[in-house]
């Protein structure tokens, strides 16, 4: 059927059918979003959606997604089935009626969903256009020293946030690669790094996690240093000689750099023995 070919060519989704590698697909938020897009392209009314035509274009689009190795997730397939079902119902000669004997449009439910979704899309766009705090507008909200808000300006960091910070460090240091001829003779032990981290915390109140990851060691470029330091920090936290904190922003959301601090236990010197016990 020629209509299918034409509709694809008229579709700005595929700018040039002879340049398959430059195909760019707009990102859709889901099957409803894709349907709204097709309806808009065809300049038809949502309330009178031509199921056969739109359904065909919908399937073409799914095919396109597959050709591009994009995941066609289940939700898109469910919608394809729904469209096929509605189409078959519309082809039936029998008129569908409800209990009151009124004629029922098999498309009614889909149309209601499309209209509802479209409405929320509009609201979402309106919300997205509002001036946003800390992007467009900035609030004068001076913290009063000693106020509860000031005292509770940090929160203890969980393991996952720490792993995430570790990943960031690794990402930032992607250049780290052992030279092929280099033979690693010097092992960096976790215990060694534990002692070094505690040594650093001895001299100051708190230390930045990401800076610490690469500090206090002459072999800065080694990946095993990063690994050892990370494991050392985890071990120190487990022994509860340090705690790991992240600052809260003015609205109470953890934000910004992660830092370490000695606990009371970590301050009395007994940590040396506890680390020694591990050896």
């Amino acid at each position: 059927m020629s209509a299918s070919g034409q509709s694809l060519e008229a579709n700005p989704v595929v700018p040039d059918p002879f340049a398959p590698y430059s195909v760019r697909l707009p990102v859709f938020e889901g099957p409803l979003d894709l349907l709204l897009h097709l309806i808009r392209l065809d300049e038809v009314e949502i309330t009178d959606i031509p199921i056969a035509r739109i359904g065909e274009q919908y399937l073409e689009y799914l095919g396109l997604m597959r050709d591009l190795d994009l995941d066609v997730v289940g939700e898109y397939l469910v919608m394809a089935a729904t469209l096929a079902w509605i189409k078959s119902r519309m082809l039936l000669p029998v008129e569908q009626t409800n209990e009151d004997g009124e004629e029922v449009d098999p498309r009614a439910e889909l149309i209601a969903r499309l209209l509802e979704y479209q409405r929320f899309k509009e609201v979402a766009a309106a919300l997205g256009e509002r001036d946003r705090l800390d992007r467009d507008v900035f609030a004068g909200r001076a913290p009063i020293a000693g106020s509860p808000a000031e005292l509770e300006r940090e929160v203890e960091v969980g393991l996952f946030d720490l792993v995430e910070a570790y990943r960031r460090v690794l990402e930032a240091r992607r250049d780290i690669r052992p030279l092929p001829h280099e033979i690693e003779t010097e092992e960096i032990t976790i215990r060694e790094r534990m002692l070094e981290v505690m040594g650093i915390l001895e001299t100051r109140n708190s230390a930045d996690f990401e800076a610490l990851m690469q500090e206090g060691h002459e072999r800065r470029h080694s990946k095993s240093l990063l690994v050892a330091t990370f494991l050392a920090i985890l071990e120190l936290a487990r022994l509860s000689v340090i705690r790991v904190y992240q600052s809260l922003d003015s609205l109470g959301v953890p934000e910004g750099p992660i830092h370490l601090r000695r606990t009371a236990e970590g301050g009395d010197g007994s940590w040396v023995d506890r680390i020694a016990d591990l050896m």
């Binding site: 309330t47 979704y117 979402a124 946003r132 705090l133």
Partner: protein, 209 residues
């Protein structure tokens, strides 16, 4: 106490409050003041700011007053930030909109409107404290209910949930904002799809049959 003095105290309180200060609290902290009087003081302050072409104004957000800069200074102020401004994807905005209007709402209800899995987006919104868990619905499975937070109102500069554009407002806006219908215009349109929901369509949607 002179009127100007009281106004200055109100200004200082609003400026130095760590979070938006509710009008009732403002009135309580000000000597011999009522909420209505406090409101009037804020209006006077704002009128002053306009007259003096100041870079900020007092806005009502999340149930309180807060001093906020005008958006035209954003590019300068962003340089002060230690962290990047919060980005919200379309999926996040759509989900927020549905939660905001339908709250308390289950994840399944959000998924029904958007037609896609809401799990990752909802988790993200929970992490950013824009959405919170507001209990369970008393049906089999006891699904969690979600609602928007105070931070959501602060982020988008909304005085309260009532300040959200009503769906009806949108219906009224749509025909006015839409370009005049280009029915039967020439073939060489710029390729833009002008198809917009008309007022009638929305009305039909509101009351199906």
């Amino acid at each position: 106490m002179k009127e100007t003095e009281r106004r200055s105290i109100a200004e200082a309180l609003i400026l130095a409050s760590p979070e938006p200060i509710p009008v009732a609290r403002l009135a309580k902290l000000l000597p011999r003041c009522t909420p209505a009087k406090a409101r009037a003081l804020v209006d006077e302050l704002n009128a002053d700011y306009v007259a003096q072409q100041r870079s900020f104004e007092i806005q009502e957000v999340a149930g309180g007053y807060q001093v906020r800069t005008h958006p035209e200074f954003a590019s300068y102020l962003q340089q002060l930030q230690r962290t990047r401004p919060l980005r919200l994807s379309n999926a996040a905005l759509e989900t927020l909109a549905i939660v905001a209007y339908r709250q308390p709402v289950t994840r399944a209800e959000v998924e029904h409107v958007r037609g896609v899995d809401a799990g990752p987006v909802m988790r993200n919104l929970l992490e950013r404290k824009l959405v919170k868990i507001a209990g369970h619905r008393d049906v089999p499975g006891r699904p969690m209910l979600y609602a928007t937070t105070k931070r959501f109102l602060e982020l988008l500069g909304l005085a309260s949930l009532e300040a959200l554009p009503t769906l009806r407002d949108l219906e009224e806006l749509t025909p006015a904002d839409a370009p005049p219908a280009s029915q039967g215009s020439g073939q060489n349109d710029s390729g833009e799809a002008p198809a917009q929901l008309s007022l009638q369509d929305v009305d039909i949607a509101g009351k199906p049959n």
